[in-house]
Symmetry: C3
Subunit: 304 residues, 3 copies
């Protein structure tokens, strides 16, 4: 890749994306050939807010490449408590490791941090900002199951606050995809995201009812509707109940439908779907490892 | 072994137990020959409640086999906080790793979790339920010091709530052991455990005074009496004081007596015993590593 | 080294110090030759209080030597909560690992713990006591940048409570150094430290104003003045403001001045210094890895 750091999915061209996904497919096809590729390499984990599965899959990825990690631990036990700036923290950790993964509650933190370090830095989520490796593993899962060409995708749930959804929708504009957005009125796609998608030439449709569009979908991407978005508990239960998927819902779907979810889920997808061929959300989570292996491999290759 | 998972000590036959203990003895005799046996293998640590020494010894065991671990971290920083089910969590972590260790505050959690995963799962304690690797390391320590045949063992302390004790006593019914249980009336062995031991043909005796039985013991297994079991603080101190072992107590013991304790101890065994030949509780703790290495080696061998 | 454990910088002779620093220089010159030197070795991390960067750099050091770590985790999740003694904890962890690093809030903890274990133990800070690896990395940074012979060093900030400063000043008495101490009256060097330095034949000067001495310095070692030392917030701000370094301050310095700081810093050194040739504090932090690699290499070599 022509990048030193991975800060946003937006920075990636179609060629960049395909480079990562092709490498991830190589990993999946022949994991043993990657098993010692970065022996001796240390990846610094700087998680300024908790994120179990992102952290675990970066850790597994680095270890599957033969390397190891050094974890800053929680902010409560770190120098941050003593008033250290983010710039100082990453400059210290940089000296212990060969690459950094940063998670931070504030938007823009990854970009700022990247300006202070010479080793490759990967943004693992910066508040309302970006989480590009989630987008890459989503794209990989779509490509493996439905293909990225001539894709018809439905994205359902909380489209207003869902960072994951905004990144994925934007990334899909690199491909020839028709995007259907399904949400309650109060959780519709923000005007700015809709505008960006239109500017990028995307075919975008919005719905409040999944039944309007389910039969034509290749992929249905479900996200969690968060209780804390609703001032009224009853309102939450009423709305959330309408955006749940169960076996009944999927009777109208194509047999080839791929159901995805960034996890963790609460009630959005009924457990009865888990054992069906539709369910690809655990596979999607597992794809975090080969995709992050591919990304680290490419970044470390370039920085070597 | 014929098992995919290790959920309870009860599931193990005498042959299973001897297979693990023999393998552990091989580890102790020749650790270097195991040092790269599982290079590239990742063990997922899912500890839903804290357990320092169990976690550390599983981690050391996997690393001594040449592999590595990926740790879910504390529940406070995990997706569990967002309402994720145990079944979902283990299905996600399974995709990052080659085997799982699960610790959970609720009885039955390990069994339930094992039904959702394909990789080997080891129960590292599920509330009032089981903790089979503790039993295996106890058996290994007994075998190394006193032998498991014609054994006369005294088990002292909290016999009512002690999960460790119930598992060990049950496992010993596979061997030709005479078991003496020593406790205050209020902390006697539960009726159900006593019944199970009788059903299994065990020779069982109960006492309130260690002096009645100490001279004939090959092994004395001491457990901690927990303050929180007593509504009255003075009552706790009175009782706990009667079930402590010091140099004076052990004057009546055989020279070959092996004193064990699952640790941590508080005041149950006086520090003056630590330097004597009786004291095997640190050796017992250390045996957690070769025994868990043996177990992981056997489970991974079968799943490969 | 003739030592099994590293407990204080005071225990080290000039020859010991040079042995470690020379080995660290070898690491820096040829890190790859150390990359597998301690493959299979496990280092136990026992941190009874948080210390991000010390822990991370020990972890990185052990991993850069080809080994691995087993971390006790936070005290909140450990057996310590159940009332276990320090002596018991280190004796258990010793059985899982090949060497120990101990951090503890109480002075003397490392010495006490070392009496119970057979594996090498390194003191990573014991309250108001010692933190010898910080001193070693400070000495290494001084030697690499200014040399330890004929050194003129200024040590500025909180000289009363600063453990780091006392250890460094004492260690420098092994070399031919002139030491200038710069602090507000209320944070002057304690009488006992001043006495020890004089006894050791050190050339010591005390100042309240950095300008008196800056031009003649080879090294300026800045430390943090902690807010919690001042009953009055305004007094803190007034004093702390006088002991800050910025580009204006350094106009009076030699072009070859090396500015150091144990980090984390708050406002003691203005960010505008970071990009200058004076700034060696990030390099100093990074030196924690080769210096700790050197130390572990020497201790493990001797214990093998």
């Amino acid at each position: 890749m022509r990048h030193d750091h991975l800060l946003t999915a937006n920075q990636l061209t179609r060629e960049d994306i395909e480079l990562v996904l092709d490498r991830a497919a190589e990993v999946d096809a022949n994991p043993a050939s990657f098993g010692q590729r970065h022996a001796g390499t240390l990846l610094g984990l700087c998680f300024f807010e908790p994120s179990t599965r992102t952290k675990m899959s970066f850790e597994a990825a680095m270890k599957r490449l033969g390397g190891d990690v050094v974890d800053m631990g929680s902010v409560d036990s770190s120098s941050v408590k003593k008033g250290e700036s983010l710039a100082d923290t990453v400059r210290v950790v940089e000296g212990y490791t060969d690459a950094l993964v940063l998670r931070h509650p504030l938007m823009g933190a990854a970009k700022m941090a990247s300006e202070f370090v010479d080793v490759p830095l990967v943004n693992a989520g910066d508040g309302a900002g970006h989480h590009p490796t989630q987008t890459l593993l989503d794209l990989y899962t779509i490509r493996e199951n439905a293909g990225l060409d001539d894709l018809t995708i439905g994205i359902m749930g909380d489209l207003k606050y869902g960072r994951t959804v905004h990144s994925l929708a934007t990334a899909l504009t690199n491909f020839d995809a028709t995007q259907h957005f399904v949400s309650p009125e109060s959780l519709k796609l923000p005007r700015s995201v809709r505008y960006d998608l239109h500017e990028a030439g995307a075919t975008v449709r919005e719905h409040t009812d999944i039944e309007e569009v389910l039969p034509q979908l290749d992929v249905l991407y479900v996200t969690r509707i968060q209780r804390e978005r609703f001032p009224d508990e009853n309102e939450y239960h009423r709305i959330a109940g309408e955006y749940q998927i169960d076996a009944g819902t999927l009777q109208a779907a194509s047999d080839d439908l791929t159901v995805m979810h960034p996890l963790p889920r609460v009630d959005e997808i009924a457990p009865e779907i888990d054992g069906t061929d539709y369910a690809r959300y655990f596979e999607q989570a597992h794809n975090g490892v080969p995709v992050r292996m591919a990304l680290l491999d490419l970044l470390l290759e370039d920085s070597a």
